[in-house]
């Protein structure tokens, strides 16, 4: 068990963005996290990696209670994340961007550089290493997000809609990249709206709706579940009573 989320609740004022969500994630898996807009997926990520303090519940990562830890401490323990809205350090080069993450576990310049180069190779961005990050296109920025996160040498990687806005061929490339990241021994949780991609990638899928976990299962189980279909497509008139 690499990550245990135990009935985590996050309230913003009176509103529960995430309420009593529990997850148990085995090492080496790719977990898909899906749900309609506003279901609390990104908020759950923010709770796991310490960006937001949680209201109730506990989170245990690799045997360590990280519930009250700060995000830089959690990064050092081995959870990395990418952002839905890409956040490159615009005035640094692609390589320097990744090196910020590379310095997470070392102080030596050459080592950080080597780590950063390896993660750029993994996401196939090494040919753009000397380009200033603000000149990258969206697909490249999404890759850079992943490379930065990978450079912290995580055990668990949280990917937040890394395929949104990409062309179909870029999506295919991203699927391959995610597979190769997983093959290198990193557990992943991915939020995604592109069903085709998430169904083929995930070993298990967790469905959130209005902050609550409504379903967990294999891709096949999830896609044939009535509750999930209702959450996505709504309920037809007259069906509610049935």
């Amino acid at each position: 068990m690499i990550l245990q989320v135990e009935s985590v609740t996050k309230k913003f004022g009176g509103l529960s963005a995430v309420s009593e969500v529990s997850l148990e994630i085995e090492e080496g898996n790719i977990i898909g996290l899906i749900g309609p807009n506003g279901a609390g997926k990104t908020t759950l990520f923010n709770c796991i990696n310490g960006t937001l303090p949680i209201t109730e519940g506990t989170i245990i990562f690799d045997g360590v209670d990280i519930t009250r830890k700060k995000s830089h401490e959690i990064a050092k323990l081995g959870i990395a994340r990418s952002y839905q809205i890409v956040q490159p350090f615009g005035n640094m080069t692609t390589l320097q961007n990744a090196m910020v993450g590379g310095f997470c576990k070392t102080k030596v310049y050459k080592e950080a550089e080597a780590i950063a180069l390896r993660s750029l190779e993994l996401v196939r961005l090494d040919h753009k290493k000397d380009l200033i990050a603000k000149h990258l296109n969206l697909g490249e920025r999404k890759k850079l997000e992943i490379a930065k996160a990978l450079s912290t040498q995580p055990k668990l990687l949280l990917l937040d809609e890394v395929m949104a806005g990409l062309t179909p061929s870029e999506v295919q490339e991203m699927v391959k990249i995610i597979h190769s990241i997983n093959a290198s021994g990193i557990t992943l949780i991915i939020i995604e709206h592109i069903m085709e991609a998430i169904m083929s990638l995930s070993t298990r899928i967790v469905v959130l709706n209005f902050g609550k976990k409504i379903m967990e299962g294999t891709p096949f189980e999830v896609s044939s579940n009535q509750q999930v279909i209702e959450a996505y497509f709504g309920v037809e008139d007259g069906e509610e009573d049935a």
Binding site: Q87, V100, C104, A149
Partner: protein, 330 residues
Amino acid sequence: MIRQLILKHNLVLWIIAAGSVIVPFFLPNRYFQDIAVMTFLWAGLATSWNLYSGYCKRLSIGHAAYLGIGAYTSTLLYLNFGISPWIGMLAGGVISAIAALIIGGTTLRLKGTFFVLSTIAFAEILKVMTITSKDITAGALGLMIPYQPGFSNMIWQGKIPYAVLTWIYMIVVLIISVRLEKSKLGYSLIALGENQEAAENLGVNSTRTMLVAFVMSAVLTSFGGTLFAQYVMFIEPTSVMSMGNSINFILLAIAGGMGTAFGPMIGSFILTPVSNLLRGYLAGISGLHGLILGLVLIVILLYRPDGILPQLKLLFRYLFGKFVKLGKGE
């Protein structure tokens, strides 16, 4: 090889920085030599300021406070206890470090404008305290350092030794700055300046990173304060710890190129002589030099908001890139 040195390792900028030491020896009189001393001193000071504020883009408009701590500590130790300013300089550094730890520890977590205001407040409070503690600091009368030349007193007859000393100061700060850019601390600082949340998620401890850089910046500024006191040999609160001084740190750094190791130096090399010469030659109409200097700054900020340095680099690339290529026969 040479081309790479020039383009990647700022060879030309190092040559400018190192070569500038010979300039004072060729200057015809004390007036111009004085400008050279001030140029080196302010290059070092602005580079010190840049270590924190430039890289992580959080303006400190109160660095005159650390200039003041450096100047007053060494001067008071020298006048009261006869302690050499060389040791006084280190003592000033220690006091500045403590002050920066306390001030930074409480204010660095403030965001945006609030941090800027807190730095101004600290500098003003320190200035007022210096004026009112008449028993220790002689208040607004200021302190005069008696003229007793000698190495241990850090006092010399001509201006050349001061020029060399301030040049060494500038080079030391510059080397620290260049090394910082290649270190974990530097990468963390720059990333923090770009996007704090994203940096923290990559394992950057923002509180510690900012505090270390802030203390470094304050200590190096304080060393410059001692040099200033020993050179001018007269310090008073309103001139040393003035808002004008605090702003000068920022102006030089921004005009030259904030957040770059060589930018503040270039800023000082251009603006300090210009402002001094304008003051000298336009003395007839009072205030005219300020007006012209202000206009120059507005033009720089309007058309080249990232400063002069990036333009210089483009120029070097153009000039030397071609030149070296031809030399190689490519």
